[in-house]
């Protein structure tokens, strides 16, 4: 009986902690939005230079790996599409699946997972280290709001840069897929791209970009939430970093499925 009670107690504690963490994330988001709009009136604006520095770190510095992954995804989709459609002799329609799945699904998802691993972990580790070194306390006692100074620029950078990366991934993936399909089917590149543009609607692209923006927000909030809640020194930093990546990727995949379902029904 005692063991059963302990299980229920553990479930209850974890649920309460989950609500607590998401409440904290919501308050971070609210506070960040507030500082974006009213910071100037309180002479504490969200610094554009900080925001650009974060954009460089999260977006521009990730370009090489983003291009490599996008090209690989495009090729992989082309290979699988030609194989599966080839079973029905419908290889010529591969462009439809590639175009729609890249723009609506793969680009935002893969870029989200990439940035969650690359930048989400960095955000959590950075904030955790700053918390342990009392740098966050130092900001607070200086009268500098840490959310305005640290969190808001990171969130803006992620919300802006992830759609940019997703858009780039669209172009690179489709181009890579086009090269493979055209080479395999002996088709001209121009006609492949023409067909792709015919099938793609602006809402498909906007759907993917909107999702990427939302994933950026999730990555930022989860990274900050974990980093700020660190305890236990260097070991704690490692723990929250891992936790942040796992949580961010899980949140991205689950929310992607929910958004996908809602947008098609």
């Amino acid at each position: 009986m005692a063991a059963v009670l302990k299980i229920f107690e553990a479930i209850g504690r974890r649920t309460a902690r989950g609500f607590d963490e998401w409440g904290f994330a919501a308050s971070l988001l609210g506070e960040s939005v507030m500082w974006m709009f009213v910071g100037r009136f309180y002479k504490q604006p969200v610094r554009i230079t900080h925001t650009f520095a974060e954009m460089m770190r999260f977006g521009i510095a990730a370009l090489p790996i983003a291009i490599l992954l996008s090209a690989t995804i495009g090729l992989m989709l082309a290979i699988q599409s030609l194989y599966s459609l080839g079973l029905f002799g419908a290889q010529n329609f591969a462009y439809i699946g590639i175009a729609l799945s890249v723009t609506r699904e793969f680009s935002p998802l893969i870029m989200g997972i990439l940035i969650a691993g690359r930048s989400g972990s960095a955000i959590a580790a950075r904030l955790a280290t700053m918390t342990i070194n009392q740098e966050i306390d130092a900001l607070q006692v200086m009268g500098i709001n840490p959310v305005r100074f640290l969190v808001a620029p990171m969130l803006i950078a992620l919300v802006v840069m992830l759609p940019c990366l997703a858009m780039l991934a669209n172009l690179v993936s489709i181009a890579a897929a086009a090269l493979y399909v055209c080479a395999d089917l002996d088709k001209s590149l121009g006609s492949y791209l023409y067909d792709t543009l015919q099938i793609l609607k602006s809402e498909d692209v906007l759907h993917g970009i909107g999702k990427a923006s939302f994933f950026g927000l999730l990555i930022g909030l989860i990274g900050v939430m974990n980093g700020a809640g660190v305890s236990g020194g260097a070991e704690g930093v490692g723990r929250v970093t891992t936790r942040s990546v796992v949580q961010a990727i899980t949140a991205i995949v689950i929310s992607d499925m929910i958004i996908g379902y809602m947008s098609t029904h």
Partner: protein
């Protein structure tokens, strides 16, 4: 015990003056703590703490490990959840302030943390300039000059380009003090300024604190367990023990205080604890 006149305090190179009790009594109160209790869950760490700090005074909060001095400091600088009516900082009740008003009060204080809390991504000069850049809205040249001045005050001129990781322990503490005073605060808090430093560097830091008070007329709250340093710099010393204020007196009064625990602390005597062997074994066995 009363002290008749100002007490000169001599170091090898400089003589510093401590204000008399009468002088201090006539000055405005900058910190007022009234009957502050605080618990972390079931464990109470502060019991009915009451103290005052006057303008221009150096108040040392002294106590052993786990005495509650860091918790008290965190309350004083507003890093703990506010308790209405218990702490007044520069005339403002911290518990009654909205978060933006609290930010305004914090701009008038400076804090140097135990391990410096310098931002590892910025060099020393940028660390010192940070409050100016974020709060004062000055042009870059003026900020450079002000940062250089403060680094000069703490004997760190010429080290502004170094990253915090390249500094020694004493230099980190001094850089942290430079950042704490860069906005010309009315009140600064120093958390364990001499911890981890050798006696010579520690003594130099004490001189720096005394010089700062003389030059800037600021009030200083120092949290330390370094008895020598406390007696050297403090106008008054508050002795905390297990979360309770045992004494809040001038150094010479603390020396002759009859409380055994105060004497144990200043004479570095370990407390004699009677251990019941039966009880000890029961605890070990987890009964």
């Amino acid at each position: 015990m009363s002290v008749a006149g100002p007490t000169p305090h001599s170091t090898e190179t400089e003589t510093f003056w401590h204000p008399t009790p009468e002088e201090l009594a006539g000055r405005p109160v900058v910190i007022e703590v009234n009957h502050l209790d605080w618990s972390f869950g079931p464990r109470q760490v502060l019991f009915d703490v009451t103290m005052q700090v006057h303008e221009g005074e150096i108040m040392v909060i002294m106590g052993g490990s786990g005495s509650g001095k860091t918790t008290l400091l965190r309350h004083l600088v507003g890093l703990m959840p506010p308790v209405p009516g218990r702490i007044k900082l520069l005339g403002k009740d911290l518990g009654g302030l909205k978060s933006l008003e609290r930010l305004e009060v914090r701009r008038k204080i400076g804090v140097a943390f135990q391990f410096g809390a310098l931002f590892s991504s910025m060099n020393v000069a940028d660390n010192v300039k940070l409050p100016l850049r974020e709060l004062a809205h000055l042009d870059e040249k003026t900020m450079d000059i002000m940062a250089r001045l403060k680094l000069e005050v703490v004997n760190l001129s010429g080290f502004g380009h170094l990253m915090p990781a390249e500094l020694s322990g004493g230099m980190v503490k001094r850089a942290s003090i430079a950042r704490a005073i860069v906005m010309d605060p009315k009140l600064i808090f120093l958390d364990e300024p001499s911890s981890g430093l050798d006696p010579v560097v520690s003594s130099a830091l004490d001189d720096l604190i005394l010089r700062l008070r003389e030059a800037m007329g600021i009030s200083v709250v120092v949290v330390t367990h370094d008895v020598e340093s406390a007696f050297k710099i403090g106008d008054r010393i508050t002795v905390l023990d297990r979360g309770r204020v045992l004494a809040c007196e001038r150094p010479e009064q603390i020396r002759v205080n009859t409380n055994e625990r105060v004497q144990n602390l200043i004479n570095r005597r370990s407390e004699h604890v009677e251990v019941d062997p039966e009880e000890y074994l029961r605890r070990l066995a987890g009964d």
